[in-house]
């Protein structure tokens, strides 16, 4: 079996790395769960009529007093924990993925252009990147969020929370992509195939996107994975700080913040189940990132 896979090719390495396989399995499982949350989840945590206070604070089913209708118990409002977590993970993943994609497009675009054209444009972009790199991502995100609060009128703000949060996270993560794309472009642009393309009179945009980009995808893929984990953590942290999403549309971070209120009172499941879920998700993505790094940069280890 699997004899058709070439030895030492990425897929062969993947099949021979138990940690990468487990991580990929868990990530896929969580993503599928989040994707199909409306179908799988026993109830809809956003729909106030679907749960009642009477079912509040029920423990998970294996503990005394647990009911089989609520496998992982309920929170103080009577919301089913499984449903909250699935919907929360859905929100966290949507924000994390969107932020990561925006950061990738923005960062890779600027990095490619900076590396390809060099000169003053490069200098300006890299200066900005340096300054932002000195500021940790969480500070940048908090700041952008604060500015958005100041600029947007209050009525719009509530509806824009997800957008603002996503943009804040994206704008604090683009630097990694820009730097990597620029460094790789510097190396690539002096190679013969690029020179050939220039001589053929291809448009710079075409050279960047069709000639250079495919050749620098490897390291970018690693950063995408690592930054997806960062984006999810960043969102969770902001929501935990009460800056991110409001309690009526909870992400994983908001769920943990709500759970904190039960730290002292013994309803452990409200806090620890979302927490463990978040950690598993992030560890799995990070392990995948490490695996990809080993494939694309064997020298780093």
């Amino acid at each position: 079996m699997l004899a058709f896979i070439k030895r030492r090719e990425p897929f062969w390495l993947f099949v021979h790395s138990p940690s990468a396989m487990i991580a990929a399995f868990l990530t896929a499982l969580i993503i599928l769960g989040a994707l199909f949350a409306p179908l799988i989840a026993p109830s809809n945590p956003y729909d106030l009529s679907s749960f009642s206070l009477m079912d509040g604070l029920l423990p998970p089913v294996w503990q005394d007093g647990g009911r089989s209708a609520f496998l992982l118990g309920t929170d103080d409002q009577g919301r089913d924990m499984i449903s909250s977590i699935l919907y929360g993970a859905r929100l966290s993943l949507v924000i994390g993925l969107t932020a990561m994609v925006i950061a990738t497009v923005l960062g890779v675009g600027l990095g490619l252009a900076a590396g390809y054209f060099g000169g003053r444009f490069d200098a300006v972009i890299m200066r900005i990147a340096d300054v932002q790199l000195a500021l940790p991502a969480i500070l940048t995100a908090l700041l952008i969020d604060g500015i958005a609060r100041g600029i947007l009128p209050t009525e719009i703000q509530q509806n824009m929370r997800v957008t603002v949060l996503t943009l804040a996270i994206a704008l604090s993560l683009w630097v990694n992509f820009a730097r990597t794309a620029r460094a790789s472009t510097f190396v690539e642009k002096n190679k013969e195939y690029v020179e050939a393309a220039i001589i053929m009179g291809q448009h710079p945009l075409r050279i960047m996107l069709i000639q250079i980009l495919p050749n620098i995808v490897g390291p970018l893929l690693v950063i995408m994975t690592v930054d997806l984990a960062s984006a999810i953590l960043l969102e969770a942290t902001l929501s935990f700080l009460g800056i991110g999403l409001p309690a009526d549309s909870p992400s994983l971070g908001t769920l943990i913040r709500i759970g904190m209120q039960f730290l002292l009172s013994g309803e452990w499941w409200i806090l620890w189940i979302p927490t463990v879920f978040l950690i598993v998700l992030v560890v799995a993505i990070n392990v995948l990132g490490d695996f990809l790094r080993d494939i694309f940069n064997p020298g780093l280890r």
Partner: protein, 324 residues
């Protein structure tokens, strides 16, 4: 060397001007200062008079210069929310954050450097594998979760340590310190560990990578062949040569410590600058946000200058270079 330091000083001044400009733009363009200061019953004429009186109709550059000179004189304006002078609000909070940050950084160094050296020297040991695995998980666990876990374990389950606030503090001049009472230290441990853990993993990974690099170099092999005693080889020859990058990272980590102190202070209700910043974001208290940025940038620039100077103390080659 003098030239190098001068160059760095000029750069630092430019960074500070840029940050002051950012803070100024925040103040000037995010929300209207006049409507923040006046109530609904203020007439339009009064508002205009206030606007003129505050100099908000002056040219942009004039306003910025006035803003900067106010900053230099320590006049940071007033908070929209509490109406107190911002300078007072911030200076009251600085000791708490600095003490937390410095202790966290010390934890990360005191544990991180030996752990890094050990894992580099015994790459196949069981302890090494264990430490490395722990750090991978450590990197993946967000700061606030580490904080919650520590609170749960030491505060709730064992009841050993307080879980919020600074405990007993002592005033030394205007500096409110929690480093001189037993109670203060008890309160400090959990937040400092929370803040230090992430930095610790970074320090450890870096020291380890540097050590492994150095151990492969020719002069170490030669020293081994010469029969230099092992502990002297490890610490005098090898570790000393890893110090330049490690010090750079400590400088960079300072930024991380400040940023994550926002999170840590929130988890432990630690009354520092981070908590103040968080409140100011929640209430769109622009003056406090702006000044926080300026103060943080100032610390940042200061630490990086010190780091640059330390290079000269640590690396004799740099002192020689200018003569060449």
């Amino acid at each position: 060397m003098a030239y190098f330091i001068l160059k760095r000083l000029v750069q630092s001044v430019f960074v500070m001007i840029a940050v002051a400009f950012l803070a100024f733009s925040l103040f000037r363009f995010v929300g209207d200062p006049v409507s923040q200061m006046t109530g609904v019953e203020t007439t339009v004429e009064d508002q205009d008079r206030l606007r003129e009186g505050l100099g908000l109709n002056d040219p942009f550059v004039v306003q910025f210069i006035r803003f900067s000179s106010d900053l230099l004189r320590g006049d940071f304006g007033f908070s929209y929310r509490t109406r107190q002078p911002v300078a007072e609000m911030i200076t009251n909070r600085i000791p708490a954050t600095l003490e937390l940050g410095v202790v966290a950084l010390l934890i990360s160094l005191i544990v991180g450097i030996p752990a890094g050296v050990y894992t580099a020297l015994r790459p196949r040991g069981i302890a090494t594998q264990l430490i490395l695995m722990t750090t991978l998980v450590g990197v993946s666990i967000p700061t606030f979760v580490i904080g919650i876990m520590l609170i749960f374990l030491f505060g709730v389950q064992l009841g050993l340590l307080p879980t919020f606030g600074r405990g007993g503090t002592v005033h030394i001049g205007s500096w409110e310190s929690s480093l001189f009472t037993f109670d203060g230290w008890k309160s400090l441990i959990l937040p400092a560990v929370t803040l230090g853990v992430y930095q610790l993993t970074l320090t450890m990974r870096l020291v380890r990578a540097q050590m492994m690099d150095v151990m492969r170099s020719d002069y170490i092999r030669f020293a081994m062949a010469r029969g230099v005693p092992l502990h002297s080889l490890y610490f005098r020859h090898a570790l000393a040569n890893t110090m330049v990058p490690v010090i750079t990272i400590i400088g960079l980590q300072f930024g991380g410590v400040i940023a994550f102190s926002i999170v840590t202070e929130s988890v432990f209700q630690w009354p520092g600058m981070g908590l103040l910043f968080l409140e100011s974001i929640r209430f769109v208290d622009i003056p406090v946000m702006g000044v926080y940025l300026v103060v943080i940038a100032f610390f940042f620039v200061l630490v990086n200058l010190i780091v640059d100077l330390l290079y000269f103390a640590i690396d004799p080659r740099l002192r020689v270079k200018e003569d060449v």
